[in-house]
């Protein structure tokens, strides 16, 4: 990757706007809550606009990092300001700014300590964007951790009854998991310095050495590989959260204020799965392949366990919280199927879960503002009272169930299909139970979500709720945005799948291809062709348009799901003669 400093650009602006917003809000006196809310709204909208500009400038035809900004920072420590965006992070960035705007909009209900609240929202927004944009491990860790404090404070001050417990649990859990990731990062930098001679936390540089096979060929690295893998994996598994590390989630989600829940479920959980895609798969290919059975098993358990526990909850918000455990399980099995379709589904499901669960929390919040309870036993018969609300709720609920024509269906289907393919081929030891049991999970989701809908909207009307007002126009607009996204995502999934495809495919090949034929972010002459092959294009063709001539030098075929060794043998001969020799002798024996 380009090592010359580029200065700050659009992506920095994207993070800078919320920071500026926080500063501006901090200087508005507390007596003017409307001004504070207005400022927060303006800055959120501007952030969304900037992210749309990023989206507009995004080039679909490449898997490489785009709009990369590199500013030298701490040379002695090898920590630099390095940000960039690719297909994996693109939609998460847009999702973040979009959900944030909705959350801020909803937060007009807040009337306690307004100023701190919106300052925290803005800081949180900047930190979350930073996670998705960082290309430096320490920078990534910085934002990963920095997002904890505003979220913990939000739960603390504006949370429900058990907010104290929930906030501390949330913080301790995540911090505990990620501090070992920090040690892992230092060890990775040291091992990288062993092979390359430079001390750096640059993700792209380390991945370059991993892709060439140099990194893990170091015997010391090979010895520590499992420990390093789990140091990183556990941090992301807690964040996701995956069974059995999910126990912080129901408390945090339930106690957080509505906007906090929307952000927590919509964006912060995705930091975990994003970590899988951005760091775990590219840096630990062998370990990922070896540990697929374990992670798949935990993902499947999460799907079933989350669904069963969700079905038992007496509280609307807790039910949705546990449903998140189940839904994130689909993301995980999609990603770790390591097939093209599965990973596309997993990546897409991240967005869908953000929209549908974010919307569910939002709707629950709207209801809570009216009736101040979330218990099923206090509800019933709301359909007649609030027809518009129930219609919107129905669409969102069906999207969460995975109803065809809505976005959840596409993601879950692709994830299941991918795990089916992997199971059929016995890819990385993926068993048949994965698609089968997860499929049952889809049915269970329908069971508890429909049950919830029935409890809330049908049956006898609770007399206390007789004079309920339906949604106001601005509330309809707010939740309507999410409904539109859910339908759009279901009918035209290619809008979202298209731009992410090459990057997701490259990530997949980073994880499954043998050393030497893995895509890297540092080698700009590598590219993913339209048929999914990893090809080498002429360097001059990389700049600007992609007019490469046929036939392209295929480095690794892309449609291989199952038969890697057979197809890649010739190339192995060229680059890894010694490795092949050992293989050959083994075959001969």
């Amino acid at each position: 990757m380009n090592m010359t400093p580029t200065g700050f650009g659009l992506l920095s602006l994207l993070m800078l706007v919320p920071v500026l917003g926080a500063l501006v809000i901090a200087f508005i006196p507390e007596q003017f809550p409307k001004a504070i809310k207005g400022a927060a709204m303006v800055f959120s909208a501007v952030t969304l606009l900037v992210s749309l500009v990023v989206l507009g400038g995004f080039q679909v035809g490449t898997y490489h990092m785009q709009m990369v900004e590199f500013v030298p920072w701490l040379n002695q420590l090898g920590i630099h300001y390095r940000v960039g965006i690719d297909g994996v992070s693109l939609w998460l960035v847009v999702l973040t700014t979009f959900l944030n705007l909705i959350a801020v909009w909803f937060s007009f209900y807040i009337d306690k300590r307004v100023k701190v609240y919106f300052v925290m929202t803005m800081v949180l927004l900047a930190a979350m964007l930073g996670v998705f944009l960082s290309l430096d491990l320490i920078l990534f860790y910085t934002f990963f951790e920095a997002s904890l404090i505003p979220m913990a404070v939000m739960i603390w001050i504006w949370g429900g009854e058990k907010r104290n417990y929930a906030a501390i649990k949330f913080f301790v859990y995540t911090f505990a998991a990620s501090i070992f990731m920090l040690i892992g990062m230092i060890v990775m930098a040291k091992l990288n310095a062993d092979v390359s001679g430079t001390w750096t936390f640059d993700l792209t540089a380390i991945q370059g050495n991993v892709a060439s096979g140099q990194f893990w060929a170091n015997p010391e690295a090979a010895r520590m590989a499992p420990m390093l893998f789990w140091a990183f994996a556990l941090a992301f598994m807690v964040k996701c959260p995956m069974f059995p590390f999910h126990t912080w989630l129901p408390d945090a989600h339930t106690e957080a204020p509505t906007a906090g829940s929307v952000i927590l479920a919509g964006v912060m959980l995705k930091m975990g799965t994003y970590g899988f895609l951005r760091i775990l798969l590219p840096l630990f290919p062998e370990q990922v392949q070896a540990n697929v059975p374990v992670i798949m098993a935990l993902g499947v358990i999460g799907i079933i366990y989350g669904a069963i526990v969700a079905a038992m909850q007496p509280d609307l918000k807790r039910l949705v919280a546990y449903s998140s455990v189940a839904h994130m399980g689909f993301v995980v099995i999609g990603i770790f199927s390591l097939t093209h379709d599965g990973m596309m589904g997993g990546s897409y499901q991240q967005l869908n879960h953000g929209i549908s669960t974010g919307a569910l929390f939002l709707l629950i919040g709207l209801l809570y503002e009216r009736i101040h309870t979330r218990l099923f036993s206090d509800m019933g018969g709301l359909k007649a009272q609030m027809p518009i609300y129930s219609a919107i709720f129905l669409v969102i609920m069906l999207s969460s169930v995975g109803f065809p024509t809505l976005n959840g269906f596409v993601g879950e289907f692709l994830a299941l299909f991918g795990s089916f393919q992997a199971a059929q081929a016995g890819f990385n030891g993926t068993g048949w139970y994965v698609p089968v049991v997860s499929g049952i999970g889809v049915i269970l989701a329908a069971v508890y979500l429909l049950w919830m809908f029935q409890k809330v909207f049908y049956g006898e009307l609770n007399p206390k709720l007789a004079r309920l007002k339906d949604l106001k126009p601005w509330e309809i607009a707010m939740s309507g945005c999410l409904v539109v996204m859910a339908i759009w995502g279901g009918l035209f999934p290619n809008t979202f799948l298209g731009p992410m495809e090459k990057a997701v495919n490259a990530t997949r090949q980073m994880a499954i291809n043998p050393p030497g034929s893995r895509p890297t972010w540092t080698d700009t002459s590598l590219e993913i062709a339209d048929n999914g092959d990893l090809v080498r294009v002429l360097p001059r063709a990389v700049n600007g348009d992609m007019h490469y001539q046929e036939p392209l030098a295929v480095v690794a075929p892309g449609n291989l799901h199952f038969d890697v060794p057979a197809l890649t043998e010739p190339r192995v001969e060229q680059q890894h003669a010694s490795a092949l020799k050992t293989q050959g002798t083994e075959v001969a024996n």
Binding site: E145, A167, A189
Partner: protein
């Protein structure tokens, strides 16, 4: 004896002299115009410290070397720690004013004593002579004993002073005994001489040297509050006036580490005898400090235990340096001390705001409502606590990052892991403090509270900017501190070439 008077490089001792004289001057101000002199005392003290600081800065880049017949040594470590001590004293003075008024403590007692205490600490870090070390230690300690008992209306303060004095005197005795044994075994009072004597390995004297070193380390461990010599810390921290606690937590720790580093460096040849002990003391210090802090109900006790834990973190860096001096410099230890001083002083400055009605307010419940009264201070407190936890991108985070990489580079992964686990434990009580400030204080009776004055706000701002600046400008800060071996690309290069060679051989 050589009758010639040694050449004296006065510039080396000027900072210490100025600090001592400033203390005297502050006392004179009190004498000549009682009652209307408080601001003058503060002004004189701050000005004196600033001049002393200037003299220290001037010495950067001058040639290292001993003067006063080897009693005073100028080197990078000493200069940096001196500057740090002056800074600590300066910040402590800035935020003390309002608190002292609130508690009706005479200004003329606090400022001169704190200055003299600082001068003792500064002596401690600029010498390798054992007698001088002891002299510095005593000047530092005796002034601190008085400071701890300064709030005479409160029995807790008196208890704290007495406890500190008795245990401190005991530790000093150990220290002195250690010097005696080391002198007996080596015939030298200078650490360099002792080091050569130890290294020469004169057989029968070895056990004596080891014993003496052990006694000496007990004395230092007491000052630095390592487990199991930490028992005094929470009581003294709790009882002493809050500004004194802040000063004590930062200054005496810096001085003790200055002494510890020099002693351990000299004792490297016999490290087989003491390294395992220090290794386990380090683990214990981190773990016990944090676990004990979790169950405390008093903010100052929590911070006291947290300072014990932090001493353990610094010890990790020091031990890494001892274990692998070629790979790991002392820069990390000094860097962490700097970050620690900033965040600890800042935290105590905010806690001093909880004083009300002329009394100490240090329970968690006394922190309630602080958010309403002093939003800026609480915002700063959040930053300090985040830094103590190690949330990026603060000084505490970079400090821990450096300690992690040093421990790993020195081949002590266990210490790194224990440190990581302890960081997690510490989250709980730091968050507890943070949370207490946000609780509304509606039922409480209206009392007069210590108000965040200008000095306190400046001190807090300086600490917050400092906490961020040492992290964001870590390159520059570490270059200024010097002393770093750091992660070396050069050695990595050689390793990689051997690796390549190995690969080719295969």
């Amino acid at each position: 004896m050589d009758p010639t008077i040694p050449q004296i490089d006065w510039s080396t001792v000027m900072p210490v002299v100025i600090v001592v004289l400033t203390g005297v001057a502050a006392l004179f101000v009190e004498m000549f115009s009682p009652r209307r002199n408080n601001n003058a005392i503060v002004g004189v003290s701050l000005a004196g410290l600033a001049i002393a600081g200037g003299y220290v800065v001037k010495q950067f880049g001058m040639a290292d070397g001993p003067t006063f017949g080897g009693f005073i040594l100028r080197d990078q470590l000493g200069l940096v720690l001196q500057l740090l001590l002056i800074g600590v004293c300066f910040v402590a003075f800035l935020f003390s004013e309002g608190y002292l008024r609130e508690k009706r403590i005479a200004f003329a007692e606090f400022y001169p004593l704190a200055l003299w205490s600082t001068s003792g600490a500064m002596l401690m870090v600029t010498t390798t002579n054992m007698l001088e070390l002891f002299l510095g230690l005593e000047v530092l300690s005796i002034a601190l004993y008085c400071l701890a008992g300064m709030s005479r209306q409160e029995s807790k303060s008196e208890e704290s002073a007495l406890k500190y004095f008795l245990l401190g005197a005991f530790a000093s005795a150990f220290f002195l005994m250690g010097i005696a044994y080391l002198y007996g075994s080596s015939g030298s009072l200078d650490l360099a001489g002792i080091g050569t004597a130890i290294a020469s390995g004169k057989s029968g004297l070895q056990p004596m040297a080891v014993f003496g070193l052990g006694m000496l380390l007990v004395g230092i461990a007491f000052k630095a509050a390592f487990v199991p010599f930490h028992q005094w810390t929470p009581d003294v921290y709790q009882g002493a006036p809050t500004n004194v606690t802040g000063f004590m937590a930062a200054a005496s720790k810096i001085a003790a580490f200055g002494a510890l580093i020099r002693v351990l460096d000299a004792a490297v040849p016999i490290q087989a005898n003491w390294f395992p002990a220090m290794y386990w003391i380090c683990i214990l210090t981190m773990t016990v400090g944090n676990l004990a802090a979790v169950v405390q109900k008093d903010v100052k006790r929590v911070l006291g235990y947290s300072s014990i834990a932090n001493a353990g973190y610094v010890l990790v860096a020091v031990l890494a340096h001892i274990k692998a001096p070629d790979k790991v410099g002392l820069g990390t230890a000094v860097y962490f001390l700097l970050a620690y001083a900033l965040m600890t002083l800042g935290s105590f400055a905010v806690v001093s705001l909880a004083a009300k009605g002329g009394k100490e307010g240090t329970r968690f419940s006394d922190m309630h409502g602080l958010w309403k009264r002093a939003p800026f201070a609480v915002t700063c407190l959040i930053v300090f606590l985040a830094s103590l936890i190690g949330v990026p991108f603060t000084g505490g985070f970079v400090g821990k990052l450096l300690i992690f990489s040093d421990a790993l580079a020195a081949g002590m992964p266990l210490l790194a892991i224990v440190l990581a686990v302890n960081s997690v434990i510490s989250v709980y009580y730091y968050l507890g403090i943070m949370q207490a400030t946000f609780v509304d204080d509606e039922g409480a009776v209206k009392t007069s509270h210590a108000k965040p004055g200008l000095g306190l706000n400046i001190a807090l701002l300086a600490c917050v900017v400092g906490v961020f600046w040492v992290a964001i400008g870590a390159d520059g800060v570490r270059a200024t501190l010097g002393l770093s071996a750091g992660p070396k690309p050069v050695s990595a290069q050689t390793e990689s070439t051997t690796l390549v060679a190995r690969g080719q051989a295969e």
